[in-house]
Subunit: 252 residues, 2 copies
DNA sequence: CCTGCGGCCTCACGCCGCGTGAGGGTCAAC
DNA sequence: GTTGACCCTCACGCGGCGTGAGGCCGCAGG
């Protein structure tokens, strides 16, 4: 009623070497050895192996596995429950990813290009769609601020330099389009507006078209915000607002 | 509009070293370098990185990833579709595992102990519950035979030795119980019958209680099958059949 | 202008989880 | 007693990075 390495390997679908390795590091030591020194695995060993492989499949390191398996107070049912939870977690994560991929497919089909951040949201923030939905549902004011604060807190000086450089690029592009008489609701101005939105989304918070329009209003209404534009050319803030609105309408 | 390693690392949630590594092996070479030799990642690079991480997450080796990404005829949408399929596959697998864990929980709660094979079925045969359901639904005759043939085809000589040794143990246990007058519907005989069933399940096919009862009948009806028992003791095959039936009733 | 500091660079060694021999013993079958 | 399938113990190697060491770039502040 005990099994040789080869048999266990075949049953469990692993290599003999793997079993040797687990023996070496003390993760799974066969209960017995034959007179000739052959490893003999007993039922409890098989049981343990199953658990080892399970946790391994879910990405645990062998050391971590040793810890959870040797943790006393190990009621088998507890293990099963834990495994079930872990699986549900992983499934949830993958479903998120699938949803994100689907959104990406739709976006591609519509010809919308994503910002880097949006692309990597596939991998989730552990705090999945829930937060995103909330942020969409609510009027995003304070939430955007919160998000911006969280993100920028971790920026380095180099990041800030990049932010400024990018912002300057956008500003210049607006100024150029304005100076050359490109219409605010033309493709050129709208493209710059889109770059502007991407810039904000990239570095600060998810800037929806709604929020973007709000910002546009702010530039003409509040001199503290509009100064950057008015300082470059008179009437530029109004031009930007119009371009932003046109761009939002284009993507609606 | 290009990013430094550190920025990309932070955006994508990987280490700088990882990006260096991908550059080293040619998996992701930044589109540009600054005058000072600094890596500068462009938008397409970011795009590629996203895909790299995606496939990595799903367990592909970096070399495999290079192959799928450099495969020409690479329409982005095709990638997304492929990713979606892969995700659905993984989700399916995990759901199977979750289901198996749940069954294991029920089994444990009922006090039934599983055979090694049953335990490792968590990891699936790629051909999930479908086959198992069919096998249950149909009258298992030919199906059991098919399963047995598939399994035994891969047995080694050592396995066969183990099979014989185990069968001999069971036979001896039956003979001993019989000789010592243990009743065929008593715990002792029924336990041996259960071991017999486990033996078959372990090495040949899923032996349900129904099938097991059928086998019991076979032992008394067909001398080719009963000979093994009758050769040890006259009337043993009948004893075995009764024990098997009693054991089946016990588990019903 | 120089100094500091954060970020970048290139080696280069190390760790984990095994794969893959090499060299040799064991044991049932013929 | 020979064959062949299986087992053993070293021991080296590989993939995918982590983790310094030692040094260059470049902006800010004094």
């Amino acid at each position: 009623m005990s099994y040789s390495v080869g048999q266990v390997a075949r049953i469990a679908g692993v290599s003999v070497r793997t079993l040797h390795h687990y023996d070496e590091i003390g993760l799974l030591t066969p209960g017995e050895r034959s007179a000739a020194g052959y490893r003999r695995y007993t039922e409890p060993d098989i049981d343990r192996l199953q658990r080892v492989l399970f946790y391994r499949e879910l990405g645990f390191s062998l050391e971590e596995i040793a810890v959870v398996l040797d943790d006393p107070g190990v009621d088998p049912l507890t293990h099963l429950r834990r495994q079930h939870e872990l699986l549900r977690g992983r499934i949830g994560r993958l479903e998120q990813m699938a949803a994100a991929v689907q959104r990406a497919m739709e976006a591609t089909r519509m010809g919308v290009s994503l910002t880097p951040e949006e692309r990597f949201e596939v991998f989730g923030d552990f705090d999945p769609g829930k937060h995103a939905e909330e942020a969409e549902e609510r009027w995003g004011g304070t939430d955007a601020y919160e998000q911006s604060r969280r993100r920028t807190a971790r920026y380095t000086k180099d990041d800030w330099r990049a932010v400024k450089a990018e912002a300057a690029e956008v500003l210049e592009a607006f100024a150029a389009a304005f100076a050359e008489g490109a219409p605010a609701d033309g493709d050129r101005a709208m493209d710059v507006a889109e770059r502007h939105r991407a810039h904000i989304t990239r570095w600060f918070y998810d800037c929806t078209y709604e929020i973007h329009k709000g910002l546009g209003e702010l530039y003409v209404a509040d001199p503290r915000f509009g100064a950057g534009y008015e300082g470059v050319a008179e009437g530029l803030s109004g031009y930007v607002r119009d371009a932003v609105h046109a761009n939002a309408a284009r993507h609606a």
